[in-house]
Amino acid sequence: MHHILLDRWGQGASPLHRRDARAKIVALLVFLILLATTPGNAVAILITDAALLASAILIAGLPLRGVLLRAMVVLPFSLTFGLISWLAGEPARALALVEKSYLSTVAVLLLAGTTSLPLLLGGLERLGVPRLLVLVAQFLYRYLFVLSEQSRNMRLAAACREGGARAARGFRFRAATGALAVLFARSYNRAEGIHQAMQARGFSGRFSILHFQRFGALDAAFMLSVSAFLVLVRVG
């Protein structure tokens, strides 16, 4: 599971792991904005950005190959749009689109791999992201694992009753849609159960997230130096 791996990465103790989540989120935002506005033909800037990310991954003690491979998850989407641009006669734009989306994904993975989810959510909340969005992300992350386990069990149960025979495609499609409906109904039931459990412990509509991190001088220095370096690379 991807998110279990990210959890494990997030438990590290590198200098990057120790930085306050807010400093890393702001640095990531600066990186993404500058990357998005970098001209497609500015190869030197893109190479510098890639080198910066690779150095950060190594400093964080994350597996470089693992991060780069997992960032490929974005390629099916960006390659599709890249292909459209290529066919429209803009090969440079197509290449830039793929490069930028890939580097952006690496940067996001770097943040997720050096910040545990509770700290990341706490950081987002303190930076002013609406609490509702933070909560939705939290619940999605928490129950993704439970739901995926349920769907895996359903797949196994279906496979056990296949008896080695391959059913007609139409039947398999109907079975898959039925399983999806069951999964949805179960998720709905679970959501009701969670709400009841929350009510039973006095939930009155306001959620509290523990904030362990303090934004210190080192965090400010990290945030400002990374941002300044990125701006210098972009304009210089």
């Binding site: 939290q138 929350m198 009510q199 006095g202 306001r206 509290s208």
Partner: protein, 245 residues
């Protein structure tokens, strides 16, 4: 002796029209542990969800002398600690510590105090080492104990446990039983597990089609309703299995 819980003429119907509870009268006295026995769908869980206002029927419910109303709900919810059947539904926060502090922060306890109390509760449950873990990294037994700790940290006067031994292997079940037997609170235990009921409960009540039809000792109720399958001769079990399939 003033009852901790007093329920009079409780009725409840689900939105689809299913009558889940019909005229329930029930009393829980201080120090009592009552096992709620009955078939699936007989109304046991629906009943306990009424006690802290998660579900609302008609009739009267008094908890620790407080009538259950919208105004008294926060007080009543701090007096009744409820451990749900599925720990995954109860442990919804990103880490164990976040989950334990959830109830305390809702009660208005300051953050640092909530953290200290929660860590102590985890220590008492023998799980001090899991405070920063995500709940899905825990075993079923650990989840159940964390769920219990999350309720105990709120210092409730009454504990309600819905099928506490579901998904537990025998060692985890034994550990939980030991932990529960040491807790001083009055308890309501929804269970099919007669062994658990016998070990912990001072009394049992039996639910049938939304009605509370009998009250007595665990042995008496289990025998009367054929609830203790260990008592059945093997031939009866074979007959029962043949009839079903």
């Amino acid at each position: 002796m003033t009852p901790l819980i007093e329920v009079r003429d409780l009725h409840f119907q689900y939105e689809d029209g299913t009558k889940a509870l019909e005229g329930i009268n029930f009393t829980l006295l201080p120090g009592e542990t009552v096992a709620l026995l009955g078939a699936n769908g007989s109304g046991k869980t629906t009943f306990v969800l009424q006690l802290n206002g998660v579900l609302r029927g008609t009739g009267s419910i008094t908890v620790c002398g407080l009538p259950l109303t919208k105004e008294t709900l926060p007080q009543i919810r701090s007096k009744i600690g409820m451990v749900f059947q599925d720990s995954d539904e109860q442990l919804f926060m990103p880490t164990v510590l976040d989950d334990l502090t959830f109830g305390l922060l809702n009660q208005g306890v300051p953050e640092q105090e909530a953290i200290a109390k929660s860590k102590l509760a985890l220590q008492q449950a023998g799980l001090a080492h899991v405070w920063n873990k995500a709940p899905y990294h825990l075993s079923a037994g650990e989840k159940r104990r964390v769920a219990l700790a999350g309720v105990l940290v709120m210092e409730p006067e009454i504990l309600v446990l819905d099928e506490p031994t579901t998904f537990l292997d025998p060692p985890a079940e034994r550990d939980l039983l030991q932990l529960l037997s040491e807790l001083p609170q009055a308890k309501l235990i929804v269970t099919h597990n007669v062994r658990l009921a016998s070990a912990l409960a001072t009394r049992a009540v039996f639910f049938e089609r939304g009605q509370l039809v009998a009250s007595g000792s665990v042995d008496e109720i289990a025998r009367r309703f054929g609830w203790n399958y260990a008592d059945l001769p093997a031939a009866d079990l074979r007959y029962s299995a043949q009839r079903r399939f």
